[in-house]
Amino acid sequence: MTTFATDTATVFSRELRPVLRDPFSVIFSMLQPLLFLALFAPLLPDTDGGSALQWFVPGIVVMSCLFGTSATGSNLLFEIQTGSHERMLVSPLSRPALIVGRALKEIVPMFAQAVLIVLVTIPFGFELHVGGALVALAILALFCVGLGSLSYTLALAARNTEWMFWAVQQTLLFPLLLLAGILLPIDEAPEWLRVASHLNPLTYVVDAERALFNGELVSATVGYGLLAAAAVGVLGLWIGTKAIRRASA
């Protein structure tokens, strides 16, 4: 007999397999963040902390996770249309496992992309603090799982209307990205922008990533980031689980 844990493992490894068989797909989805890195980083002035990369790279790591993970629902959308999602719904797999397993898989490409970004930037002066970076990625993983689950929820809601999925995803993605201060700092932004930024959970995650990647392990910033990421993770999974239960009624 299967359990929630074994079902989740089944779904997780099914999702992961194409990625492992074709690792190049991971790189493909991070072309855009790498492009931003190449075009933006030279524009930023170096700070007293050191290279501008120290500020910019953690943001790009988050961005790369954001791009890949927010689009991941399109895989499910496709499987809803072809019939392979239906085939899994007829199997005894636990309903929550169908979402949780998929969402957990997002951690793997996120991690691979982060490692790649760091490796690419070290020769250009990015200074790596391994301990901090690992904690940073653990926090980002929580966020990633929640975001992935939300992306799958969007796919379940969009069902046969593919354009709807992309319209919502694109509409939410860029404001989220800009308001979190990933590309440009928002310290000197007008009041309303700063308020909006404070309402964005991603802002706290990005701030925490910056602190951690700079080796600052224990601080309020890190605490808030952890809290925000965990909240997104839990809330995302909860919403996703509800959505798949309802969709299969």
Binding site: P18, N75, Q81, V90, S91, P92
Partner: protein
């Protein structure tokens, strides 16, 4: 001893589309015993898929009950799922997956160990002739290969009850014959109970021992193909004449010879429907000869399930399925 595999009572499903209620399945009462091979036959939109989707726990019934493999579909959906196999209208394998990988994860989903799933996958790859493509990505497979993979996935856990929704759609004649062969073998060797839907008359006729004819969400007939034909449709004798008025005289004469025959005349052609038409034809021809009505040609056709459907509904299944192709939904 045979036990009941499926028992539905008043099974009903409504959909609401743009504030209008579509009664897709209306009060279906169906009993299927262990080992039966049943075809649900009906035109597009008859409610076949909706019925199957309720029986496989994909859709909740609006009302009524269904017990499948001894479990209630609403109260114990997981119990039902663990005992059945389902090959849907679409393709079950993920496009970015490799065929064999999908077989393995399907086995895992049904609680098989990795070793058992692997052994069973090898077996199915062999018997469904998938060896050449098993390690390829699904998106590179042809339609027929994908369909065979679907079948392999549906069989991985050797279910005692298997549902197939339009299994032969998109298959060329050769693959269709292969599929039929596989279904027969499964039935003979494993005693698997099977319920399949189709809008192909020949398929229902050749494959199933029992045909349930569905129209507008209701069962309108339920029997073996032979008995359905015997009860609902006679042989069809088609006669051609050189002149219209010969056909006219022949019709009157035929009605005198063959009691209870139904005739239909169009121009120089006369169509007679009657039971035992093949035996009657020589007698008819002698009668025409005596009345000096020269017959240009004669053809005797055994009844088809289409004749049954025509008799029951006044519509032809053939025309409907040809015309309604666009209505078909993946749902």
């Amino acid at each position: 001893m045979t036990s009941t595999m499926i028992r539905t009572s008043g099974l009903t499903r409504h959909f609401t589309v743009k504030k209008r209620t579509v009664e897709a399945v209306r009060g279906l009462d169906l009993t299927v015993d262990e080992g039966e091979l049943v075809a649900l036959l009906g035109p597009n939109g008859a409610g076949k898929s909706t019925t199957l989707r309720m029986l496989t726990t994909l859709l909740r019934p609006t009302s009524g009950t269904a017990e499948v493999a001894g479990r209630d579909v609403t109260r114990d959906p997981r119990g039902v799922r663990a005992r059945i196999g389902y090959i849907g209208q679409g393709n079950g394998a993920g496009h970015s997956q490799r065929a064999r990988d999908e077989l393995l994860s399907q086995g895992r989903a049904y609680g098989m160990t990795v070793a058992a799933a692997r052994a069973r996958a090898d077996e199915l790859v062999g018997s469904l002739d998938l060896g050449a493509v098993a390690d390829r990505v699904v998106s590179s497979l042809s339609g027929g290969q994908r369909r065979r993979l679907d079948i392999a996935m549906g069989l991985i856990h050797a279910p005692e009850l298997l549902f197939l929704d339009e299994p032969s759609t998109g298959l060329d004649p050769q693959n269709r014959a292969n599929l039929a062969e596989h279904v027969r073998r499964l039935r003979a060797e494993q005693g698997t109970t099977m319920v399949l839907t189709t809008h192909y008359l020949e398929e229902a006729d050749q494959l199933a021992e029992r045909v349930v004819v569905i129209d507008h969400g209701r069962v309108i007939a339920d029997d073996t193909p032979a008995r359905l034909k015997a009860a609902h449709a006679g042989d069809r004798i088609t006669l051609e004449f050189d002149h219209e008025q010969e056909a006219e005289r022949a019709e009157a004469r035929a009605l005198g010879i063959a009691e209870g025959a139904q005739t239909e005349r169009t121009g120089t052609r006369l169509e007679i429907r009657i039971d035992g038409g093949a035996r009657l034809t020589p007698k008819l021809l002698r009668g025409f000869d005596e009345a000096h009505i020269p017959v240009a040609s004669v053809e005797v056709a055994r009844p088809t399930l289409d004749d049954v459907f025509l008799n029951l509904t006044g519509r032809s299944l053939r025309e409907e399925s040809a015309g309604a192709g666009t209505q078909e939904r993946a749902a």
